[in-house]
Symmetry: C2
Subunit: 552 residues, 2 copies
Amino acid sequence: MEGGIRCSTNYVPLSPISFLERSAIVYRDRTSVVYGSVRFTWRQTLERCKRLASALVQLGISPGDVVAALAPNIPAMYELHFGVPMAGAVLCTLNTRLDSAMISVLLKHSEAKIIFVDYQLIHVAQGAIDILSKTRTNLPLLVVIQELDQPSPDVSRSRDFEYESLLARERVDFEVRRPKDEWDPISLNYTSGTTSNPKGVIYSHRGAYLNSLATILFNEMLSMPVYLWCVPMFHCNGWCLPWGVAAQGGTNVCQRNVTAKGIFDQISQHKVTHMGGAPTVLNMIINAPENDRKPLPGKVTVMTGGAPPPSQVLFKMEELGFGVIHSYGLTETYGPGTICTWKPEWDSLSRESQAKLKARQGLQHIGMEELDVKDPVTLKSVPPDAKTMGEVMFRGNTVMNGYLKDVKATKDAFNGGWLRSGDLGVKHPDGYIELKDRLKDIIISGGENISTIEVESVLYTHPAVLEAAIVGRPDDYWGETPCAFVKLKDEFNTCAEEIINFCRSHLPHYMAPRTVVFDDLPKTATGKVQKYVLRQKAKAMGSLSKKSKSKL
Amino acid sequence: MEGGIRCSTNYVPLSPISFLERSAIVYRDRTSVVYGSVRFTWRQTLERCKRLASALVQLGISPGDVVAALAPNIPAMYELHFGVPMAGAVLCTLNTRLDSAMISVLLKHSEAKIIFVDYQLIHVAQGAIDILSKTRTNLPLLVVIQELDQPSPDVSRSRDFEYESLLARERVDFEVRRPKDEWDPISLNYTSGTTSNPKGVIYSHRGAYLNSLATILFNEMLSMPVYLWCVPMFHCNGWCLPWGVAAQGGTNVCQRNVTAKGIFDQISQHKVTHMGGAPTVLNMIINAPENDRKPLPGKVTVMTGGAPPPSQVLFKMEELGFGVIHSYGLTETYGPGTICTWKPEWDSLSRESQAKLKARQGLQHIGMEELDVKDPVTLKSVPPDAKTMGEVMFRGNTVMNGYLKDVKATKDAFNGGWLRSGDLGVKHPDGYIELKDRLKDIIISGGENISTIEVESVLYTHPAVLEAAIVGRPDDYWGETPCAFVKLKDEFNTCAEEIINFCRSHLPHYMAPRTVVFDDLPKTATGKVQKYVLRQKAKAMGSLSKKSKSKL
């Protein structure tokens, strides 16, 4: 329209950097970050992030360079979420459970110029660099992050830099490098990184900005929330909440380790209003010994995701005074992509019905344009009959830019104009989706689809079961049969037959497990069960049916 | 970064249209709009807006065409905020207090192809078209909006179209025309339109999207709010809340007229959670006769703006149970541009101190990048001393695209890279800004600046004063002297001398008015006092000082 002029007066590329700059004015003297006896205000956090950005530029970081970080949820990890983008660089947070070999692969793939490492993980990072040094000369610089109030002796090593010392000598009047285009990358998140090729998911400033606002909104996070960090910031950038909490001028309660006692202590001490965690964290809370518990100072909203929360877990969480909200997404959707918006009319339903409804993945949040369940081949939407399965697909501004250096993988993921989640689900008559399984996890037994999630949710209702996972065991006759891996609660005991009979009384016969293994469950750093490990174990067991039977 | 692919899977131009499309799924059966006995759900609202967009296309509307609307806050006005953009067109809402002559000027300037008119305003619109017909042949089509439950006889007129009939014959499967670029215009808002040349402020889809989210956030609007419409939707698109309420799946309580009784009735009946209004609306509420009042069913958050709320008004609103939040902005900033964020530590201050703090304009909201108070010539920021005055300036994504067909005016407004507000203010030590006056309203008396806002705030504390405004009266000796226009409360009486003495006991002598006129105050449709009318009156009075005195 004639008369309009697009210029810096009315057009600023969207970036979470704006959240911090604004909060350093509006909420300047309020606590931004608290960690043990350490406490910063928003004004100080901006200052520290500017010093950090300035240090990165001094160390030779150019716009678009990758800066890696290997650390738990400590203040420096929070600051890296702003300081790195403020230097125009891209933050690559690494899973703290990875070993040196995998870290070396990711450092090589991302071409990280610097790696920030928590003092407890120096050996892992140094090991990775040692591996790299065998084939490369241009190695990433290692910056050590000391515990804030107790400097360790490691600093003296000549080629290491130390985080606080770097900050101390830098300028607070550093001129922030804003993205030229809001599509520019802000971070790089490697998906699980436990199998095959690493995939580096690229997040943009625009997507991070929009997913942060969406996440604030569906968490019903009013201004100045107090957020307890249980979700690792290295996982999908902490579901975008390092940026989201800054947007609302909240307080970030940081903690190095996640324990039930720590959670109750921090909630009580800091009057926490919001937190997040995978169902395993919820499990930890409800199974906490009596001595570790403290009464909640008020309502605590817990966003959970990563796996649907079992109904027993929900009941107990709500008895303790937590309000659980259920979100679902992928690394490729900046973490949260959906929210199971609670309908007021559900309040009057039975507890069991409520738990079933809450276990649904729901619908797209406000930052995501479209969510659908489609036939993966024809792309036809499934009918909203709660029965027909299809692949869950996303489209919108909070879908990743793509996979680093892997246009083919990006094209495959976007095949047909939708992000393929690899998750199988159904659509309920009210539009809400519900996951049934991973495309690769679903068991096909005698031609019937068996949703492992459904079987697991029954197992979780058994009083002796602490954790459970179902995978397919190869079978000469049925193709596959369900095999349960179960971890029992400390004080309980039971046998395979009892578990199988329990399932048969709650499920169609063919869905009940034929095999039960009592064992610890292997998990990723974010608490997801590693089913591919269990599948290997089940495969090693061989067929349950005799060869001869397959002739029938 | 190599590997990223920008495509429709991960990039969708931001538009408030997305809010409606999403709410029609998530909140499908919840009430979207209620108006007397009329009630729609979000699914129905989307359907009606699609029919409306389809009708516009049938009537020949092309992308970028302007569609005008002249109506109070009725359901059709709400639907036009989505239906017009969904046809790719630009919504131009007109002030319902304008006369045919001014409407004809705006229709001509905007080149509106269609005008939607409430049945009570047909004569105004028809009058405007009659004026246009003298010089043009290509006249805008007139579509009449009937009262929803009582069709009027006017429909039969052959060249008129009727809103509901148009919708009834259209298709619900209309394919929505999304903006190609989020910078594309969504609406056109003429500034006051009471003086000189009309200025058509262009809003973009992007700016509207971002200002809607910012406004939701600073209103602390959780999901499914109940919003009572008192702010005219024709004014800055109702402060972006037709879109914002859709984003949160709320209920829009529409009403044709704003009365104290109506406000209390609607709040009570629909359990209103949020509303907005200029201080005159707040005045109306606190001065409501006892019989018109009803107890509030819960906390009602009222966003006020347009003028700082006088402390007495704030006290009384809060006694009644309303929580008042104070925002400030311009038509050029999509309405709200700042928010006076309340600091918890202020809770313990005296009521008077709290009122003074709440009357500040505060700081930029989350959608606005920067706010500053600067010397209008040098662009140097004023010190945060609460004393030095400068011009309030904005920069960010929620600043208008520009003025329609007036690049020169756009350039002037953006001169130096900042949107010039034309408002004078100071910056407090905590960064919060406080307006002192309009650049053109400030009184200069004997070389001293007199903030008319400060004098008015003292007048408002006088028990007999209902409304007050100060302008400069020309003076041969002092240049100007303060002249007060005062409207008294019904049951009160006083004299000029008493008012002057009251001011002198609360203000420096030179700031107190020398003249007091008891009269009704002329106002714009949004409740702002038309000071230029009062200045004309004051000018007509002539100098208070004798000519001879000016020789001294």
